[in-house]
């Protein structure tokens, strides 16, 4: 059984007004425990709508979301308990910081879960550690932190609930390369060590290519592709028709393959590309690599 099962989800905004717009159109997808899934699509493709339905912030117009086989919107389920299991980190999460210390802010979620003080403390510390926040920052006001630290503190506020699935909506928006790489490494580490399901929504194809095992492509409220990253990114034309670009390096390698060079399609990182091209260069020179 899949951890998360989405069945025939449909949702429209502004029902009954002239601005009615279908955001999701009969979407079905299964997500297994422990997967790292990348979600790509244009603004307005339905990504954010879908994500907010996975933890019940939006109620489907039609269709269901099953978590471990339970319909999360069934009346018998307390939706709050679902939200503790499906964590959602919004874009610019630092805008949600409110408490007078970082520690209290991170503990907001666990406290809402009704955990004991010791347990809350433990979780706050381990969540802060996970995102790389120094201990001494915990008793500072969140508003004194630097931009990158604020972002990490806010993310710790979701991680501290230890959800089975954690969704990151554009977690690196506005960060510089250093901050971005650091945060993505932390997320990747979280996925690896805790074995929890991670869903990463991003506009950066390079980031998706580097970290995601599977990629979900949304376009105009429908799922166009859902497959292994390599397979998705080798379909340059199909993605292009949706106005989505593949990472530069993937494009370059796919083009070389098209020209008849002996390289594989769907190369995802510069390192991988280097290995393949270096092999070709060596062969040309008649050397061994």
């Amino acid at each position: 059984m899949s951890l998360l099962e989405v069945k025939n989800l449909t949702y429209s905004y502004g029902v009954g007004t002239p601005f009615e717009k279908k955001a999701l159109d009969n979407v079905s997808v299964n997500i297994n425990a422990g997967e790292f899934i990348g979600v790509i699509g244009h603004t307005g493709s339905g990504k954010s709508t879908l994500m907010q339905m996975l933890n019940g912030l939006l109620k489907p117009e039609r269709g269901q979301v099953f978590l471990n086989g339970n319909d999360i919107n069934a009346p018998k389920n307390n939706i709050r308990n679902i939200r503790f299991k499906v964590g959602l980190v919004f874009q610019y999460p630092e805008h949600q910081l409110f408490d007078d210390t970082v520690r209290k802010d991170i503990s907001f979620g666990p406290r809402n879960m009704g955990l004991s003080e010791e347990e809350i403390d433990e979780r706050v510390i381990s969540a802060a550690e996970f995102v790389g926040l120094k201990r001494e920052l915990l008793d500072k006001s969140p508003f004194e932190l630097s931009g990158g630290e604020k972002r990490r503190a806010a993310i710790a506020g979701v991680i501290s609930m230890e959800p089975d699935i954690i969704i990151f909506d554009e977690p690196t928006a506005g960060l510089d390369p250093n901050g971005r790489n650091y945060l993505l490494e932390r997320i990747n580490d979280y996925h690896k060590t805790k074995g929890k399901t991670v869903i990463l929504v991003s506009h950066s194809m390079e980031d998706i290519a580097k970290y995601a095992q599977k990629v979900l492509v949304l376009n105009k409220g429908r799922i166009e592709m859902f497959d292994e990253t390599k397979i998705v990114f080798s379909q340059v034309e199909k993605l292009d028709s949706m106005g989505l670009r593949v990472p530069q390096i993937t494009y370059i390698m796919n083009k070389l393959k098209e020209y008849g060079y002996d390289v594989s399609g769907g190369v995802l990182t510069v390192e991988e590309a280097y290995k393949e091209l270096n092999r070709l260069l060596c062969r040309k020179r008649g050397e061994k690599c």
Partner: protein, 271 residues
């Protein structure tokens, strides 16, 4: 969604009402309010109500939008009407315990109902057909005589412009923050009053912080665009009274005279 609120919303269009000078519209709105309240009998009341309805239709904005603005206050209207209905003077027509309905009660209820509805409709006409900038511009110019009393009319108008500009932005932001806190298990709609107020702190604090940040950034951006108060400032859209403004003012004045005449000629309703 929160941003669905229609009060203060502007629907661009090209109707005769849209094209009127905002100063005229403001003055006429004020006069409408006065005359709506001096109606004394059913004739003058229905006369001004029909007049308001025709203005609504002439505005060319979808009727649905007007219904939406009425929907927002439907409970207040019904509540005050019912209170009026039950607190009339004179001989009761029907009675249930201490609750009695009298002729004056019925009259009061109908008057309150029609008056508030007319009021909302005519104010909506103003906000729906006048861009916020035009509106504040009109106010600024109407109030400019107040400069004599050292009142900073331009600054007040600029503050109103900015407030109107940022209402939808802040509503959007409120919704986002609420969702973010709900995702961390906050519950905003259960518990007693104190619990509920406490539950809003995680929303209000971030909202306040971001408003300050926005204010600071906006002030910098305005300075970079050479803003330095109202002195020496020109406007792209200067206001000139046109034929339509004179005609519509005349029509309204005649209508207002009509209200007064109907009030005098015909007997007042029992109140």
């Amino acid at each position: 969604m929160l941003s669905d609120i229609t009060i203060g919303q502007f629907f661009p269009g090209n109707s005769i009402i849209h094209r009127l000078d905002p100063r005229i519209k403001l003055v006429l709105l004020l006069s409408f309010i006065v005359f709506i309240f001096i109606t004394g009998n059913y004739f003058s009341l229905s006369f001004i109500f029909i007049f308001v309805l025709s203005v609504v239709i002439m505005s060319g904005v979808a009727l649905k939008m007007y219904l939406k603005s009425l929907k927002a206050i439907v409970y207040i209207v019904l509540f005050t009407s019912v209170i009026n209905l039950l607190y009339g003077r004179g001989e009761p027509i029907a009675q249930l315990g201490i609750l009695k309905v009298t002729v004056s009660g019925i009259n009061n209820a109908v008057f309150v109902f029609i008056r508030i509805v007319s009021l909302i409709l005519i104010s909506s006409v103003l906000t729906y057909t006048t861009s916020p900038t035009q509106l504040t511009d009109g106010m600024e110019r109407l109030m400019s005589p107040l400069k004599v009393f050292k009142i900073q009319v331009h600054e007040i108008a600029m503050m109103m412009t900015i407030a109107l500009r940022f209402i939808p932005t802040l509503l959007d932001e409120t919704e986002k923050i609420m969702n973010a806190q709900k995702a961390r298990g906050a519950s905003m709609d259960s518990g007693n009053v104190i619990q509920r107020i406490k539950a809003f702190i995680p929303v209000l604090v971030p909202l306040l912080v971001s408003s300050f940040r926005r204010a600071y950034e906006l002030a910098t951006a305005m300075e970079c665009r050479c803003y330095h108060g109202g002195d020496g400032r020109t406007r792209m859209k200067s206001l000139h009274l046109k034929k339509a403004d004179y005609i519509s003012s005349a029509v309204c004045v005649i209508a207002f005279c009509g209200v007064v005449a109907l009030n005098i000629i015909l007997p007042a309703a029992e109140r």
